[in-house]
């Protein structure tokens, strides 16, 4: 799967629930395939999608909070996994799209094909699923419906030359409509 396809398939499964998406191509893809007020597009502040998601999860225990993260992003803020693992929010689902590269800056390699993010996540109290195909994606999403978080789904994606357009909403607008959607 390429990232854009994985983001399309997963975001369609998340109806009415919050998605916090990491900066770079992840937010751009989500904006292009499934823009909704319940999406919070993080444009700058690399690495912090999981932390923003944690604050949201703690304050909104009745909503499911999904974080769409990249491998480069989570490696920059690995400490956040320990904080999330310590607090164990039941409504926190962390989806990491892993292509072992910093794709938006020119495809430089990350270390995820030489280390084990899933072992790290398990060690800090996450339930971990690995996804390599569309078929396994469906199975995993069925399974986690009956489970409590924190959950990590590692989605292996391949690199692609398809690049989505930038998020054209101004940040203040992203914030305003997102905050309004939380109140409903």
């Amino acid at each position: 799967m390429i990232r854009k396809e994985a983001i399309r398939l997963i975001s369609k499964k998340i109806v009415g629930d919050v998605i916090v998406s990491a900066n770079g191509y992840i937010s751009r893809d989500l904006f292009e395939v499934n823009d909704k007020p319940t999406n919070f597009y993080m444009i700058g502040s690399m690495g912090l999608a999981s932390s923003i998601g944690l604050g949201l999860a703690l304050q909104n225990p009745k909503k499911m909070i999904h974080v769409f993260d990249g491998d480069g992003n989570i490696l920059m803020n690995l400490g956040s996994l320990t904080t999330i693992g310590k607090l164990k929010p039941k409504n926190f689902i962390h989806i990491i799209f892993d292509n072992s590269s910093h794709e938006s800056t020119g495809g430089q390699p990350t270390s995820t094909n030489k280390i084990s993010i899933d072992a790290i996540a398990k060690a800090v109290n996450f339930k971990v699923f690995k996804c390599h195909s569309k078929n396994s994606l469906d199975k995993i999403f069925k399974k986690i419906k009956k489970m409590y978080g924190p959950i990590i789904i590692l989605v292996k994606i391949s690199k692609s030359k398809k690049i989505s357009r930038r998020v054209s909403l101004p940040p203040k607008k992203i914030k305003a409509r997102f905050m309004k959607s939380l109140q409903s």
Binding site: S45, I52, G55, L56, T83, K175
Partner: protein
């Protein structure tokens, strides 16, 4: 700042609807943080940027937060302040210790202590030095900023070694 005022500041902010106190510890404000632990309202994070991210998640849910840190951590946070807090106009209160305020602090604090006032100034972060004498007025100033959806900074000077 003395122990009793640090504890009072914490209680005063809780009374005035600050719900989350998130950050990385600083001995300059250890009684403030201890008061937070007593009241089970403190979350310690691994880095300052992480604390700001979590506080932003709370702010998006209309829950008020204070983020505390040393000035070394403030230096870590600058990109997060510009590209998250200021870009999205997320209202937070920062409480930052000022190591390197004294002329003879430990060597690692001297440079950042010297440039801290200018860094805050060029970041356009409204700031006040909070002291034993002005603590209530300083808290009220910060609370008013937050009510107006603005971020601001309270500084605690390190006046002992």
């Amino acid at each position: 700042m003395n122990e009793i005022h640090q504890r009072r500041i914490f209680d005063y902010l809780v009374k005035n609807k600050i719900e989350n106190f998130i950050g990385v510890p600083d001995s300059t404000m250890k009684y403030f943080i201890d008061q937070g632990f007593k009241r089970k309202k403190v979350l310690i994070t691994t880095r300052e940027e992480e604390a700001i991210g979590i506080a932003s998640g709370f702010a998006l849910s209309k829950s008020n937060s204070l983020v505390f840190m040393q000035n070394a951590g403030f230096a870590n946070s600058i990109s997060t302040i510009t590209s998250l807090v200021q870009l999205y106009e997320i209202p937070l209160i920062f409480l930052i210790g000022w190591r390197g305020y004294l002329k003879k602090d430990a060597p690692e604090h001297m440079k950042i202590g010297k440039i801290q006032p200018n860094l805050l100034k060029i970041l356009d972060l409204p700031r006040k030095i909070i002291t034993d004498k002005n603590w209530k007025a300083s808290c009220n100033w910060a609370l008013k900023k937050l009510a107006n959806h603005e971020s601001c900074t309270l500084i605690i000077r390190r006046v002992f070694l």
